[in-house]
Symmetry: C2
């Protein structure tokens, strides 16, 4: 993978140290995971915070920073000649560590004693919340913390310090994100050009997935490519595309550096949208544009989310699916029948950046706690934007038959929802349009190569693909 210079990693670690008081900071690298047996592994994905502070894209490593003694150590095991027959010659742990500006390395077995000694001396051991089972097990063994307690025992001081650094993207990070979004753009153009009636979703998904691999990295998250766009996280790819349907494709690549892209396009299987598809598609575009125009430092993303919701509700009222006072409808949450999720999220080394560290720290702050209401509880980012944040904007309209049936039978939001008309949209599917932006000094810039988005642009691509 592309690493930054040793100086970059040193500066990041220095920046982290300045925010922390004392103790030992423990960074758990990831290990290989066997799919159906130990040695048949998924593609390796290093932990993102480990990548951010050390950049070493190799399994089985642990990094520590001793805040009081000022030492930094990478723990890992060297290859034997038997390994080299299978894997070829690889850099030593010391060489890998040197690339990250770390001069001390030790075998993996040494970590346990160092941590147990520190614990016996009642020193603080800062660690981030583990999400991989094997790292939970290690922390349990080393620090004698029960797996169920690990999220609570993770260091809030460390989490906040890491978030404060990682949420502001540097120029060299933005270049990597741009590469990832460019590959992502290619994936979307491939889907939009490759669709045709009679194709199975998986056939099209293969072309899209292949583009990510050809870009030198991998997927940044599992591909959603479906004629049932109303299912928000739909990974079933067995349907046959039919004229009259829409394909919702939500996918993204990682650059070789592991920075992520994440975009969504929705397009007709045929050459053109149907009339009612075009109407609702335009409403989503309007909400998207309203939100993008509002992106700038100091504005709460929650307010931009609500602005998009109001734009959606106005449009839905315009076509007779909603009714009554739009402001009040959104205040009460009536639009969540059609838009059940959030407007967007942070993006960086993770597609949902730093989601492992906790949304309360990444997307919210002391002045704004996350809501528990339906709709807002799925908004991953609420706090005020800052220059250097990278965010997605992804409004949508989703006709979920089970939710419509349930709320209709409960008479929920009956003042704002025209259920008789909604009934006729139960087979409609879903629409989402998503792009990635970096917050600038006074607004936001689109990341990556633009992909056809307006009704006319999308229909032009589709028409030229037959």
């Amino acid at each position: 993978m592309k690493m930054f210079s040793a100086e970059t990693y040193k500066q990041r670690r220095e920046g982290l140290k300045k925010q922390l008081s004392s103790g030992i900071v423990l960074f758990m690298g990831n290990e290989e995971v066997g799919m159906n047996f130990k040695d048949n592994v998924y593609h390796f994905r290093q932990d993102s915070s480990f990548l951010y502070y050390f950049g070493i894209d190799v399994p089985g490593l642990v990094g520590i920073m001793d805040l009081d003694e000022g030492t930094e150590i990478i723990f890992g095991n060297e290859l034997s000649i038997d390994d080299i027959v299978w894997t070829g010659p690889l850099p030593t742990i010391a060489e890998l560590a040197a690339n990250a500006g770390v001069s001390q390395t030790r075998p993996t077995t040494h970590i346990e004693e160092i941590l147990k000694t520190a614990k016996a001396q009642q020193r603080t051991i800062h660690f981030l919340p583990p999400y991989r089972s094997v790292n939970k097990q290690k922390i349990q063994a080393w620090l004698e913390i029960h797996p169920e307690q690990q999220a609570q025992e993770a260091s809030v001081e460390l989490i906040k310090a890491v978030v404060a650094q990682r949420e502001i993207k540097s120029e060299e990070e933005l270049q990597e994100i741009d590469k990832a979004v460019n590959i992502t753009s290619e994936m979307h153009l491939t889907a939009m050009k490759g669709a045709k009636p009679g194709l199975i979703e998986s056939q099209l998904t293969g072309l899209v997935h292949g583009k990510a691999i050809s870009g030198g990295g991998d997927l940044s998250f599992p591909i959603i490519l479906t004629v049932n766009g109303q299912v928000l996280h739909n990974h079933y790819h067995g349907n046959t595309l039919k004229e009259g349907q829409m394909v919702l494709c939500d996918c993204g690549a990682e650059a070789p550096s592991h920075y992520a892209g994440d975009m969504t396009r929705t397009f007709p299987v045929g050459k053109q949208f149907t009339e009612r598809q075009r109407e609702l598609y335009q409403i989503v575009i309007d909400a998207h544009e309203a939100a993008v125009a509002a992106l700038k430092p100091g504005v709460r993303f929650k307010d931009i989310h609500l602005l998009a919701c109001k734009t959606l509700a106005e449009g839905l009222k315009g076509v007779g699916l909603m009714k009554g006072d739009v402001e009040e409808a959104v205040n009460q949450g009536a639009h969540t029948l059609f838009f059940q999720c959030g407007l967007g999220h942070m993006m960086g080394l993770d597609v949902h950046d730093m989601e492992d560290l906790g949304e309360q720290y990444v997307g919210y702050d002391e002045s704004l706690k996350k809501s528990t209401e339906f709709g807002l509880k799925s908004l991953r980012l609420g706090k005020a934007l800052q220059k250097g944040f990278v965010v997605t904007v992804e409004p949508g309209i989703y006709m979920i038959p089970e939710l419509i049936d349930m709320w209709k039978s409960e008479g929920k939001y009956a003042d704002f929802v025209n259920y008789d008309k909604v009934e006729t949209y139960k087979d409609f599917g879903g629409i989402r349009v998503e792009e990635d932006f970096v917050i600038t000094g006074n607004g936001a810039d689109l990341l990556g190569t633009p992909v056809a988005k307006s009704v006319s642009e999308v229909e032009a691509v589709r028409a030229s693909s037959f």
Copy 2:
């Protein structure tokens, strides 16, 4: 995924019960694994024995069979309406279990009490060796077995019974394997047609990977596609293809049913092999054909491996890379400088079928223990073949500079290796040719659509791709 009939799964479980005496049989299904945070998951891969006995391709399930009471239970948790918004409506656990012919289901939380009660009554709890960290943790909690002890505590009686069933493929299994190998053939043809000087390995890998996804399943193992074929498990895809080099592509797809394919082709980046590439390629083909001709019930695969080794050694002597008595050279292991691994392995629901159950049970038996010698210790299958076995045949020649340097400096096999000539091959790379076969009553049948293999066939495909 495609499941077989409930009757098939019932028969398999009945067949298993007949081989076991008493106690409870515990089958651990797999869970989702987060890549870089909990909810950003790798593609789900169910445990293969769970698939074999229950066929349910859903995460988070556990199955038990009580041998004494005759009961069978699937443990799993139902979806809430909140889940349905994100995942769409899915079958209930009871419906999934019914498809597998299991009538009892319970919430996941009930399993612990059942197992603890059984343990308190000193009943035997049979389980297979866990390979996923989270299942190790569960078994540790439920049965109070330390993670390090789990391989030893696994039930040898159960392992042997499962191997006895799974190693003999039924007609309906062979149809699924054939589908997987057909997709695999397409992947290879894509690589062979798509290569050209100037392409980066990852660009070609993307096309190949995409074919697997388009087939409706996924990869059966990580793709090896490299100009450095001498590195046996090479997953680096960053080199640029150059005229004069060869591409070694070892890849395979899973059918949607999760049965695997696994093939290797080696072809020139240009239109033709160079003279010395063609010479060594033909030696590998000769070894491949000798091995295939020897496949039949009752013959030990170890003997076929040694036959292939002898054919390789004869060919290598013919071009002056080896010397002396060929029989003696192979007896002493001198050919392992060029062919460091095994001739092949079992294939089925796993690409290395049942590797999680232990090679000593899958590839060997009471009458034949696995060797610890270099070369033979990497032979995964040694025992006598039976009708219904599915095996790969994959001889190769690999010029590993580090190994050549080491053995030359040690004077190892100096009577059989012409090191002066070998020195001139240190930049040669590697060649492997691999196909999949089912053992029939009196021989073996090739699985899947044949792909260009002979020198002239491969060169014809390459010539037509420019």
